[in-house]
Assembly symmetry: C2
Homo-oligomer: 348 residues x 2
Amino acid sequence: MKLTLEDIGRMAGVSRSTVSRVINDQHSVSPDVRRRVQEIIDRTGFIPNIAARSLASNRTGVLGLVIPSRVHSLFQDPYFGMLIQGISRASNEAGTTLSLFLFETEEEELRLYPRIVASGLVDGVILTASRMGDPLQTRLIDGSIPFVMVGRPDNQDKVSYVDPDNVGGARQAAVHLCNLGYRRVGYVGAPMSTTAGITRLEGFREGLADCGNALDPELRADGDFTEASGYAAMQQLIRRGPEAVFVASDTMAVGALRALKEAGLRVPDDVGVVSFDGLPASENAVPPLTTVRQPIAETGAAAVEMLLDLLSGKLTSPVSRILPTELVVRESCGATRQLEIGGMPANP
Amino acid sequence: MKLTLEDIGRMAGVSRSTVSRVINDQHSVSPDVRRRVQEIIDRTGFIPNIAARSLASNRTGVLGLVIPSRVHSLFQDPYFGMLIQGISRASNEAGTTLSLFLFETEEEELRLYPRIVASGLVDGVILTASRMGDPLQTRLIDGSIPFVMVGRPDNQDKVSYVDPDNVGGARQAAVHLCNLGYRRVGYVGAPMSTTAGITRLEGFREGLADCGNALDPELRADGDFTEASGYAAMQQLIRRGPEAVFVASDTMAVGALRALKEAGLRVPDDVGVVSFDGLPASENAVPPLTTVRQPIAETGAAAVEMLLDLLSGKLTSPVSRILPTELVVRESCGATRQLEIGGMPANP
DNA sequence: TACGTTCCTGGGAGCGCTCCCGAGAGCGCT
DNA sequence: AGCGCTCTCGGGAGCGCTCCCAGGAACGTA
């Protein structure tokens, strides 16, 4: 038996308008009426019908999360799970609900996109960046629906977005390796079709430049975020004899470690390794990985906040928010070993 | 500028009722009228307003996916990502949209639950099993909303569910180890608060019994699905000197391998290992893991199908569907090595 | 020709809410 | 006492759709 505003009103001896005011927490309701109505609502467990509310008010209270991941393997990386968790938590706290749109092909993207925006299913959309030039991005810009991106958009001054400090983090990793004395530093990258791939390479280059070093093109190989691709890329680099490598994701770094071990090279004694992400896997790797930790769940939560600000009109022009990263020093870079040596009396 | 049925009708020279019939693919519309209307719909890209539709028809076209994961770490396991992907794909194909409800505490569960069922947000719910005795489960049974479970429910004859063949798979793993000649076979389990934990232990025990063997309580330690817990559990078992172990998840098995290596034990020469899940990580482990592959994405898709059948009234009484698992033999169990040895002339 | 039957179409009613306007009560001021 | 203001509350209108009923056209049959 479904209750309506009218029912509650009848039970409380007021009109549906007054009940609506109580539920939506509006002023101009006398304290005792409010109390009386609230009590009935609590007692009956009444929840207003969402469809009717959105039809009348043109708002749904639903946020859409769009992940245009054509790369199926992305989901093998815990990254998306953690991102979703952060977004979900923030959405729960805000009292909104989350709709998930996972696309696997561009055809699917374009086919389902109108349903999302035109049907009034969602108030706004969070789009995770997948690759450059995603048609969804331009459609959303042109469309009427508010949206924010996780990851750097193609067109930065038209879109609000939140992103970890990929450039700064990668730069810090590079400088760290330089400071440890490594000269021939290699790079296992993320796909250049993704903004993470571009920005991490950029930061890495800057870091090397800071130290008067530069990336030898021979010492670079890109993967696709999977363990297997990190393994393959590292195998390629090993032939060129790097002293250290920066790997653009933890998952790939685990693969890189496997390749190094297989080649009989010790980490960090023969080759130093620093990676990016700060996933639990980095801690459990052998040896534990020095990594640039990015705040994944916080990134998701920040995106939700930004979208809500956009919806409430608090935000008018596009903004961006870059979340800081943090270098977590463990064993794979050799820093801890060097410290130990440094702490002992130098041999003549 | 939002279009309505009325607008489309005016443009096509028909009434909104006829347009509605065309959109909902009902009979009793003459072919040429249908064509004329359809053409205008295509040209304008008209999408009917979902809120109005659900208000009038009492259906939303939205499926709810509820993951009552109080264990945050669950999301570090690729399992949920792959499950979500399977569910999302099936939902997209069916033309429904997916709403995601991730709960982190029981308080949150109970607070948000009424919103899901009473507000008319979703037509039905897919609930992933987390632990036994989840209050959500009994509420959903009592509630009016159709739902199916992924994983075995507490009350099997009241709830429709889909589950991999945990019992059969674990049993097969046990028999496999027995057949390879291992006698002292240990067990690294999943939490007994989860149905996976219970059923995999059950199957494992059955398998040992099939071979006239039994699980020594000393050779059992449970983890919580994380790599770290597998590592810790294995460390515990190592002191008891098992000849082989069955680990109830790939992620834990990776941790177990780490513990074995750290203890100077070779796999499979000193200790044989078989695990469960068939995640990509099992293939990339060193050595590659022999594992019981469960069809994760298919499980999700099957849940969607089942829910849709429930919604359409095709299903009246609770049903269950058990999806087959498959033993994938790699190196960690020693089977490949034994084959090699078996292929050579036996030494006197 | 008259009548029944089937097929197609239009429009009223209503889903449960929000928004807005206007009425009434209560108050302080002149 | 009279006026204007604020505060509180009720009810009409309408959001865009589906459902249902009724009416007209077209056809076949007696």
